[in-house]
């Protein structure tokens, strides 16, 4: 037993009770981050316990990684060190929900899908249809900063998180924002926590603005011979009066992913045949409203698709939409299980430059003999999955080449990119957080305020923060 492990096992049971400290190596394997196992896992049930644990960790210089459902621990760089897994799943209470005010306060360990069930009883929802939807926790979703197809209309977490309570790397329980929908009282520190991968502190609870559910929704899929057609649909919609809830362009490679075994396991139900085709690019969009509104979207979409020479156009109803759209939501886990060494890039460019970025991604993948698939969101975010057949040296070199080329291409288009998912042993050879940035020094300042001892998920973030 290492010194750290000894220190941990002597103090942690005092804080949370022996039953909630995990030392068993077999169980600790569940908390692995990029192959690193913690010395212990601890399951607090209150904000006070979390503060105590972090205070203790800070005093003993133990590295802490907060975990939820452990679905996205592979994001970012491998941790430099990792002593304590802070399992948040016992903090799973709804603190306050005022349906008439459309505001909610919930503990970080609450299951996201269960939370949406609670909201659904009041015909409300959160626009967080994120990957690992059925398993993920609220805190994990926010800390990982993963996005949702619904961002096309509702924006990302930064647009509907009203406030947060967190424990800093010094074990101080603090909060920012509030529980009202409009608020400029003090600095919006909670925005810093979104997507911070646990490197600033532990998210204890999150206050959200909730949204009323739509009366009816439909999906629309049109397939095209080339990327221009599918991207042309996006441009037509952007210039129109339509405000769809989701808008994605799928490369031909996505069809194989979405009809494969992994998709059948992860997505809900079987996808209707002929919706996607392995030869064609697809434009997909979800929209909602009254019967008249749905009819307007369908008519406009069909007209646009015809003008752009679509091969096929399908309207998805309440039966056919969920299998197709749940696959879109789960693009990342589906792609990750489609190859032994899936590497997924996230590229951002201005929406009108997506054509160039997709072309570069295709060129880089194919010139490096890599299978690939891309899902591009209408607002200018492209997920590129590189799917090597093997997890060997040669594949690693190819993926490194391709990702470097794609990052350079994104930079040339005034955009940027990262590699959020890659095999852990390849990470040192890949530019996980993309190219160097001019604001890195400012991020270090933020890190130093929240976590002066450098114990929170050290090393996982941008520039090794």
């Amino acid at each position: 037993m290492s010194l750290a492990s000894k220190t941990i096992s002597s103090r942690l049971p005092d804080i949370v009770g022996a039953a909630h400290v995990i030392n068993d190596p077999a169980q600790l394997a569940f908390y692995e981050v990029d192959g690193k196992k913690p010395g212990a896992a601890v399951r607090p049930c209150s904000r006070e316990e979390i503060a105590e644990i972090v205070k203790f960790a800070a005093a003993e210089n133990l590295a802490v990684i907060p975990t939820g459902a452990r679905t996205k621990l592979g994001m970012g760089l491998p941790p430099r060190r990792y002593d304590v897994a802070l399992d948040m799943t016992r903090l799973d209470r709804v603190i306050a929900y005022d349906p008439a005010d459309l505001t909610l306060s919930v503990e970080a360990g609450h299951s996201l899908s269960k939370l949406l069930g609670v909201l659904g009883d009041h015909r409300q929802f959160l626009p967080l249809l994120v990957p690992y939807f059925s398993r993920t926790t609220v805190g994990g979703t926010i800390a990982a900063g993963v996005d949702s197809p619904l961002r096309q209309y509702y924006g990302t977490a930064r647009d509907f998180v009203l406030g947060m309570e967190y424990v800093t790397g010094e074990g101080v329980l603090a909060k920012s924002g509030g529980r009202v929908v409009k608020n400029v009282s003090g600095y919006d520190l909670h925005k810093l926590m979104i997507g911070s991968l646990g490197t600033l502190g532990v998210i204890v609870s999150v206050n959200f603005k909730t949204f009323p559910s739509a009366l009816g929704s439909r999906g629309f899929v049109a397939t095209f011979e080339n990327a221009e057609g599918a991207l042309g649909m996006r441009e037509h919609v952007a210039r129109s009066a339509l405000t769809p809830l989701t808008m994605e362009i799928l490369s031909p490679g996505v069809a194989a992913l979405f009809t494969g075994d992994a998709a059948a396991r992860i997505g809900s139900g079987a996808m209707a045949p002929h919706v996607l085709s392995a030869k064609h690019w697809a434009f997909t969009s979800g929209y909602a409203g009254s019967g008249k509104v749905l009819a307007r979207y369908e008519a406009d979409y069909r007209r646009m698709a015809e003008e752009l020479g679509a091969v096929n156009a399908t309207v998805l109803d309440d039966n056919t939409r969920p299998p197709a759209f749940s696959r879109k939501r789960e693009f990342i886990p589906i792609a990750l299980s489609a190859s032994p060494a899936t590497t997924i890039m996230k590229i951002s460019v201005l929406p009108a430059l997506m054509k160039g970025a997709l072309a570069e991604a295709q060129r880089a993948a194919e010139s490096n003999s890599l299978e690939w698939a891309a899902m591009a969101r209408g607002i200018g975010v492209i997920y590129v999955a590189l799917l090597p057949r093997d997890r060997d040296e040669q594949s690693r070199a190819r993926v490194a080449n391709a990702t470097n080329e794609i990052l350079a291409a994104a930079a040339k288009l005034d955009g940027h990119g990262t590699i959020p998912w890659a095999p852990p042993e390849w990470k040192s050879a890949l530019k996980i957080w993309g190219l160097d940035r001019g604001d890195f020094a400012q991020m270090q300042k933020v890190k130093k305020v929240f976590d002066p001892h450098g114990i929170m998920a050290p090393g996982r973030f941008v520039g090794g923060i």
Partner: protein, 519 residues
């Protein structure tokens, strides 16, 4: 300037003196404030000369009569800067910051001076940087629905420039014909139409800023999801305490195909406030949902002749926009909710002229109220929307208790109250009473689960109220963030965050100690 403080010339010294005593009593300690004021007043001629060399003599104001206007913003606070300078380029801004460092003089950024919490006032003297000469729209990219602007661009001018392309900039503070995007970014400004589309922070993609060290850096990017911590999210709304903004990239929205404007007229306040909660919880989010109480709408009607009914208890002014199909059916649904809650009448604006007239009434309301009282104090509290009925009742009680007329005109849809307390600032007792009445309203908002400011900012008006919603630990993290970016207190000193308790601690971090080594 259209929205120049209308009470200019009315006992400004008394207002300043009384508020400083009543509001910021913390600094009356020993020679503290005096010493700082004097130090600032002893602005060295050399600094003025250097500023003139950098910017040109006509871009530096320093004579007392030139500085008078810059003692004010739209709040009831005042503070006199040592000089006011007008940079025309980002290099000028960097140069000014370098001089401020060399001469250890605080800097305060200023847009149009329409702010309502003293954010643009030089609380402890120093250099006010007026951004009115950096007022170019650098780019409107219709294809990507983005615009790049300098901080001095007037809010309404950006929407006007984007309109021919079918686009607009959504945040629309009532002062939008005068206020600047730079000021909006500093204050994270809202407006009536932020109910569904969000406030300034939801529309800012990237900032170019000058840090107090003089470094010019970019935060975020025009492409979304810039990797790393959300620095634009931190800097927007930081009230000029972290950096000076020199360029802003914003998102533009597509102008809606159809906008329906409804005026719902009620005979009781309770019916009106209950209608608001019923609309928001009923599944429709209007583009705007404003409430004017009877007293206010009569004041507005006498001035604007918008067609508000003079005998009603309150009205709701509601915008619903979107596609033809969506706006029409939702407008009918909202009208039905209003009728269910005993609206006496629901009018629908027939054309753009009628619509503009109703909104002119709303947006000119503060000016209209100015015709009825020598001074008013605009408050800005926020509550959960379900708590509107009891909060409005409480405001009526407070009005009776203190003997002030209080008008209510506000963003009801998001629970953002703007009580207007009418008083005579020439009477020091009234001034103290008005501040006490305002405090009581804000305290009630907090009890209802609300916050101390929804869109006007904390500034030097509400720093002392921050402990109502934040504990010492919360404030300490905020202080450390400020000190990490603004370590010597060079930028906008003593705003937002209350001083730590106890004199010793105040002087442990002297202000303005610009140029001193970081702690």
């Amino acid at each position: 300037m259209q929205l120049a403080p209308w009470w200019l010339g009315h006992s400004s010294v008394e207002i300043s003196g009384a508020l400083t005593r009543g509001v910021a009593g913390d600094y009356s300690c020993r020679e503290g404030a005096h010493c700082r004021t004097h130090r600032a007043a002893r602005m060295e001629t050399r600094l003025l000369n250097d500023l003139k060399k950098l910017l040109g003599a006509d871009m530096v104001l320093h004579r007392p009569e030139e500085l008078l206007l810059y003692e004010y913003d739209g709040s009831v606070e005042t503070a006199r800067p040592s000089c006011v300078v007008f940079p025309q380029t980002k290099a000028h801004v960097v140069g000014i910051v370098e001089l401020a460092n060399r001469y250890k003089t605080p800097i305060v950024g200023r847009g149009a001076g329409t702010g309502l919490s003293g954010g643009a006032l030089a609380r402890h003297g120093g250099i006010v940087i007026g951004f009115s000469r950096m007022n170019r729209i650098l780019e409107v990219d219709a294809e990507n629905q983005r615009a790049v602007v300098q901080p001095g661009v007037v809010n309404a001018e950006l929407s006007a420039a984007a309109a021919p392309l079918g686009l607009y900039y959504a945040p629309d503070p009532s002062s939008q014909k005068a206020c600047t995007i730079g000021g909006n970014v500093s204050e994270n400004s809202g407006g009536p139409h932020t109910l569904v589309y969000g406030v300034t922070t939801n529309h800012v993609l990237s900032l170019e800023v000058v840090l107090p060290t003089g470094e010019l850096i970019r935060l975020g990017s025009a492409a979304v999801d810039s990797p790393g911590y959300d620095l634009p999210g931190l800097f927007v709304g930081s009230e000029g305490t972290l950096a000076l903004v020199t360029e802003i990239t914003v998102r533009l929205m597509r102008l809606p195909e159809t906008t329906k404007t409804l005026l719902a007229i009620f005979d009781t306040l309770d019916d009106t406030t209950e209608t608001v909660a019923a609309i928001t919880s009923g599944g429709i989010t209007p583009a705007a949902c404003e409430m004017l109480d009877g007293w206010t709408l009569r004041a507005v009607e006498a001035y604007v002749h918008a067609g508000f009914p003079l005998d009603s208890a309150a009205v709701l002014l509601i915008d619903i926009d979107g596609t033809r199909e969506a706006a029409e059916s939702q407008a009918e649904e909202v009208a039905e909710v209003c009728r269910q809650h005993h609206a006496r009448e629901v009018r629908v604006a027939r054309d753009a002229r009628e619509r503009d007239l109703l909104w002119k009434g709303r947006k000119n309301a503060f000016g209209a109220v100015g015709r009825f009282s020598t001074t008013y104090y605009v408050q800005d509290g926020v509550i959960p929307r379900t708590k509107l009925p009891q909060t409005l009742r409480r405001i009526t009680e407070i009005s009776e208790k203190y003997g002030f007329q209080i008008g209510n005109i506000f963003h009801a849809g998001d629970g953002n109250l703007h009580p207007l307390i009418l008083f005579d600032a020439r009477d020091e007792k009234q001034l103290r009473g008005a501040v006490a009445a305002a405090d009581e309203i804000i305290e009630f908002c907090v009890q209802m689960g609300g916050a101390i400011t929804g869109e006007h900012g904390v500034g030097m008006e509400k720093d002392r109220l921050m402990p109502l919603i934040f504990g010492e630990a919360d404030l300490e993290v905020m202080r450390r963030i400020r000190d990490a970016f603004n370590p010597t207190g060079l930028l906008n000193p003593e705003k937002i965050l209350p001083l730590r308790k106890g004199c010793g601690e105040i002087y442990a971090r002297p202000l303005p100690a610009a140029g001193a080594a970081p702690a």
